[in-house]
């Protein structure tokens, strides 16, 4: 029996390997310029009703989501793209309204605002940041988050910078839900999140400098209402000079001093949209939260800034290292 013990150990190991849950992060051989997508858990079958997909404009952030949706929905998906002419958009809206499709996916703010005029359609909006300003959410209109998974974002940040204890987020008004979830996720990872609400880019800059001595880093959210080109550069420059870690919303900002770029995944967005569609199918209202959070966070890590801060990237995150 003792002579068979190693074989038993080996067999058990093999069995354990087979039963080990697949990580949520897809291992990529070489980190590329574009963040690598993440494989999600097995998903349910898509709903059977036809779905109208309304796309705001022809940008990759919208097109990729639309393509992912179309891939999943197949023939059930009918895609429209907003035009330059308001008259054409009205006609397009009329067509959607007349159609049998009871569910509409609005990708982008313009599409969501257009779809807002549809009274008896269920609308799931995505890729919309300032849903609050536009009073988008209603019983028949709910969305999927634009920001990546807070839990995974903070987990990665904490893993890279274990000493991180306090960070700040400065946004415009109306993002309470986002902030609430972010604070929860931060707390779960041992990070205190300070939130400041401002009304302009200059105010953001002032607040940014004012709370610098209270935090160790910032998460720069893509709130266009309080960001300008100059201020973005200014805050990143200030952060570099004052030794603050900054998580940014776009890979390009790593060049200006961001330490980590965390972005959402288009397929994750699409999957969450489809999940909401199937949950809402046949119902009078759309169940669930106003904004469904995402499950995935795409990472890219600035090697130079990491070195500057004297940090060591754990092995599981090293594949996301990239010197801009």
């Amino acid at each position: 029996m003792y002579r068979r013990l190693p074989y038993l150990v080996l067999l058990l190991s093999l069995l354990a390997a087979c039963s080990h849950e697949q990580p949520k992060f897809i291992e990529q051989p070489v980190p590329a310029k574009v963040a690598q997508p993440v494989v999600v858990a097995p998903i349910a079958a898509p709903p059977s009703a036809e779905v109208a997909i309304l796309v705001s404009s022809n940008i990759p952030a919208y097109n990729e989501v639309a393509d992912a949706l179309t891939a999943r929905l197949g023939a059930r998906a009918f895609t429209w793209r907003l035009q330059e002419s308001p008259e054409q958009n009205l006609k397009l809206l009329a067509d959607i309204a007349k159609s049998q499709r009871s569910q509409v996916v609005a990708i982008g703010l313009d599409a969501a605002l257009t779809a807002k005029k549809l009274v008896d359609k269920q609308v799931i909006f995505c890729q919309v940041f300032n849903y609050g300003d536009e009073q988008l959410p209603s019983a028949m209109r709910k969305g999927v988050g634009m920001l990546p998974s807070f839990g995974k974002s903070f987990a990665a940040w904490k893993a890279i910078s274990p000493g991180l204890k306090q960070i700040a987020i400065i946004t415009g008004p109306g993002l309470d839900e986002y902030v609430k979830k972010a604070k929860e996720a931060a707390k779960a990872n041992g990070i205190t999140l300070l939130h400041r609400e401002v009304n302009s880019d200059m105010e953001l800059l002032v607040e940014y400098k004012n709370i610098a001595n209270k935090v160790q880093g910032y998460w720069l959210w893509p709130d266009n209402r309080v960001l300008s080109n100059v201020v973005m550069r200014e805050v990143l420059t200030f952060s570099m000079r004052s030794g603050k870690q900054v998580v940014v919303f776009n890979d390009d900002l790593l060049e200006l001093g961001g330490m980590i770029s965390i972005t959402s995944d288009y397929k994750d967005i699409a999957n969450n949209v489809i999940k909401r569609l199937e949950l809402a199918e046949g119902k009078t209202t759309i169940p669930g939260p106003v904004i469904e959070p995402l499950d995935v966070a795409n990472l890219r890590i600035n090697t130079l800034m990491v070195k500057r801060f004297g940090l060591t990237v754990p092995s599981k995150y090293r594949k996301y290292l990239d010197a801009p």
Binding site: V198, M202, E203, N210, P222, N224, S228, D252, E255
Partner: protein, 737 residues
């Protein structure tokens, strides 16, 4: 701002142009006055160059300083603008918290920093309407700056430029070297929701909102004052350098022009008539060329001067001294004797029978004889002695440093020499003799005329004693009556100057019905003993004493006066001229002058020259005759036909009349040869368009014959004797057809 700067620039340029114009006029005025005052003649080239250099340097200096001033002012303004932009950015950061947050304490901190910058006079943060002051800063001591509210136009302008520029900035220039900078305070936001299309490489569309204004007043007076001081120092240094450069330039220009300056002295001397000048022709190429050219010219002038001197002082035929030059040399010798003592001798030579040879063999032969005689005398005399031809057949010699005895020996030698001399003409061998008068020069106080008179008296005595001899002057020589009178020169001189000569008029009668009244002017010298002396009695003396030219001019002036007094264009006077009109440059001019001064037609004057004189001085006569006939005056050859004359020389110049020699007319009725001669003369003259006059017509028979031959005029005592009253003269009625 830019408009005001351009306006100031235009004003400056206009003022500068006006200033330089005034300066130029003033400079010209000063130069004129200086020239008048200095009376030093033309400016020197070096000074002119220096003056031009100086004015040019001053003009450049003014332009440079003006340019520096303008450029520096522009630099200051430009620098201030750049500073202003920086200040706007800085103050924007300081003031923004006041607008966007409650962190207003930091604004005050920022203002404290401003106190370190003296150029910031005041800062005001205004509300979004630009009316109310939100917060302000003033430099110590400054309460008001004069710029407060932002007017509507400024706000509109800022708003309009907001889209085009990142941050529009307005500049307003005020008093006391201050500018106000006005800029908006803005907040921006990116237009794209969620920044989903964000990229560093692309332009992000932003919305802009003005939340207030910032007004900064900057004082650049300090910088301006520093600039002015620096420019003044620089100007002073440049001025000193320019003066130094002018001084050095002056020295260098003078040094460079030195070769030209050295030409000044010889050229001045040349301009004053000195031709004994040599110009330096070394050094620079141009100076060498100029020097050589000048020296060549000076050499040519010397030669010409020498030639003219020779012409003026020497006889053209023999090359001996002429009367005037000899007189000069004689005077010098007399003075020398007076100073140094000693004695010299004056010889007067008169050829015997020279007129006969002239008449027999012709004037050319006579000239050749004179040349040979001159050569004989020249060979015998020493280099130091002076030999002259006094005209005609008279020679004079000054033999220096000889006493009476030696002079007599020389005289005897010369007489013997002449006795040995033979003149060959054709196949004839002619012996020539002369009479020599000698006087010794001892008295330094006497005049040349005194000794010439003595020598002349001596030669007359030699002639009187039989010729072919010499005679030494003795004080007790008595003058030969009729040939010489004591004081003859003075008498003739006085007669000319006092116009004592009487003018007689002998008519020339027209044989072809001519309407004009033609008279020949004949002179008479009043004499207490003889009543009047005819020309033969005083003409030789006039010739001898060099008074013929003066006589010619006197007779000419008188003739014009007479013709003008007659007031009748039909009256024509024929005036005899000596050979001296060829040498007298004033004679032609005098004729022209008299024609202009008197109401006399040039056709009323005929100038007569003897054939002998004309032939002897043919080449010199031609231009004179041409000049005079060009004035309209007529010319006549007197005593034509007596010698070996031909018409060949007549063709060479315009002659209007030939007066046939009296010897051919007197016996024309009896002498066939004379008749043939006269006929041929008249015929040839007619062919050439020349009128003829027959002189010494004795009777009616001769007159008729002359008329048949075709002579134009006749003259003679038979037709009318010379009479002092011109109007009284009327030709014999019987001869008027």
């Amino acid at each position: 701002m830019h408009h005001k700067i351009g306006l100031y620039g235009k004003r400056f340029i206009t003022g500068f142009i006006g200033f330089t114009s005034q300066l130029r006029m003033k400079g010209a005025e000063v130069a004129q006055n200086a020239e008048k005052i200095s009376n030093k003649g033309p400016r020197s080239l070096a000074n002119r160059m220096l003056l031009l250099q100086f004015f040019w340097a001053v003009a450049v200096y003014i332009l440079v300083i003006a340019a520096m001033w303008y450029a520096a002012s522009s630099v200051i303004e430009s620098s201030l603008r750049n500073q202003a932009e920086g200040w706007v950015g800085k103050l924007d950061e300081i003031g923004i918290p006041y607008y966007v947050s409650s962190s207003r304490a930091k604004v005050k901190e920022g203002f404290n920093d401003l106190r370190n910058f003296q150029e910031v006079v005041g800062v005001r943060y205004l509300d979004a309407n630009g009316k109310d002051v939100v917060v302000e800063y003033n430099r110590r001591g400054e309460d008001k700056t004069g710029f407060l509210k932002i007017d509507t136009d400024a706000r509109k302008k800022i708003s309009a430029e907001l889209a085009a520029q990142g941050r529009p900035i307005l500049y307003e220039k005020g008093d006391d070297d201050r500018i106000r900078v006005l800029a908006p305070l803005m907040v921006k936001s990116i237009a794209s929701d969620g920044l989903l299309n964000f990229s560093l490489d692309s332009t992000i569309r932003e919305k802009k909102e003005i939340i207030g204004y910032i007004s900064i007043i900057l004082d650049y007076g300090f910088a301006t004052r520093q600039l002015h001081d620096s420019l003044l120092y620089a100007s002073a240094i440049i001025a000193v350098l320019m003066v130094l450069a002018a001084f050095v330039g002056r020295v260098m220009i003078r040094w460079a022009l030195q070769p030209l300056s050295r030409l000044e002295e010889p050229l001045s001397r040349l301009a004053n008539g000195e031709i004994d000048v040599t110009v330096e022709s070394t050094g620079d190429h141009e100076i060498v060329q100029i020097g050589r050219a000048l020296n060549t010219t000076i050499g040519a002038l010397r030669e010409r001067d020498e030639a003219l001197r020779r012409l003026a002082n020497h006889d053209a035929l023999t090359g001996l001294c002429n009367r005037s030059y000899f007189s000069e040399l004689l005077e010098k010798e007399i003075r020398r004797i007076g100073e140094a003592g000693g004695s010299s001798a004056l010889f007067f030579f008169d050829l015997d029978r020279f007129k006969h040879i002239n008449d027999t063999y012709g004037h050319a032969a006579g000239d050749r004889l004179l040349v040979q005689i001159a050569e004989v005398l020249r060979k015998r005399l020493r280099e130091d002695d002076v030999l002259a031809r006094f005209g005609g057949d008279e020679f004079v010699a000054l033999v220096r440093n000889v006493n009476r005895k030696r002079a007599q020996e020389i005289g005897a030698e010369l007489v013997n020499k002449m006795q040995e001399f033979t003149f060959y003409e054709g196949v004839d061998a002619i012996k020539i003799q002369f009479s020599v008068g000698i006087t010794i020069i001892t008295d330094g106080r006497a005049t040349p005329h005194h000794y010439l008179k003595q020598a002349d008296m001596a030669v007359h005595e030699a002639k009187a004693q039989g010729r072919n001899r010499y005679f030494m002057y003795e004080p007790d020589i008595s003058a030969t009556e009729g040939d010489y009178d004591s004081g003859w020169y003075e008498r003739l001189k006085e007669a000319i100057q006092q116009e004592m000569f009487r003018f007689y008029y002998q008519p020339l009668v027209g044989l072809k019905g001519q309407q004009n009244n033609l008279f020949e002017v004949l002179l008479r010298l009043p004499d207490t003993r003889h009543g009047v002396i005819v020309p033969g009695g005083f003409f030789p003396a006039l010739e001898r004493f060099g008074l013929m030219a003066e006589m010619d001019r006197y007779v000419l002036r008188k003739a014009f006066q007479v013709l003008e007094g007659v007031k009748d264009e039909n009256y024509v006077l024929s005036v005899n001229c000596s050979g001296h009109i060829f040498d007298d440059f004033e004679f032609t001019a005098l004729v022209g002058q008299l024609l202009a001064e008197h109401a006399v037609k040039p056709q009323q004057l005929i100038l007569e020259v003897s054939e002998q004189t004309a032939v002897r001085h043919l080449e010199r006569l031609k231009p004179v005759v041409q000049r005079l006939t060009s004035l309209g005056v007529n010319f006549a050859i007197d005593d034509f036909g007596a010698g070996f004359a031909s018409f060949s020389y007549i063709k060479q110049f315009p002659v209007q009349c030939l007066k046939i020699h009296g010897t051919l007319i007197e016996r024309i009725a009896l002498d066939m040869v004379d008749r043939i001669t006269v006929t041929s003369i008249v015929t040839m003259a007619k062919e050439l368009g020349i009128e003829t006059v027959a002189k010494f017509v004795p009777n009616e028979e001769t007159l008729s014959l002359l008329r048949e031959i075709g002579v134009d005029y006749a003259q003679g005592d038979y037709l009318g004797e010379p009479n002092p009253d011109l109007k009284v003269q009327r030709p014999r009625l019987s001869v008027v057809k």
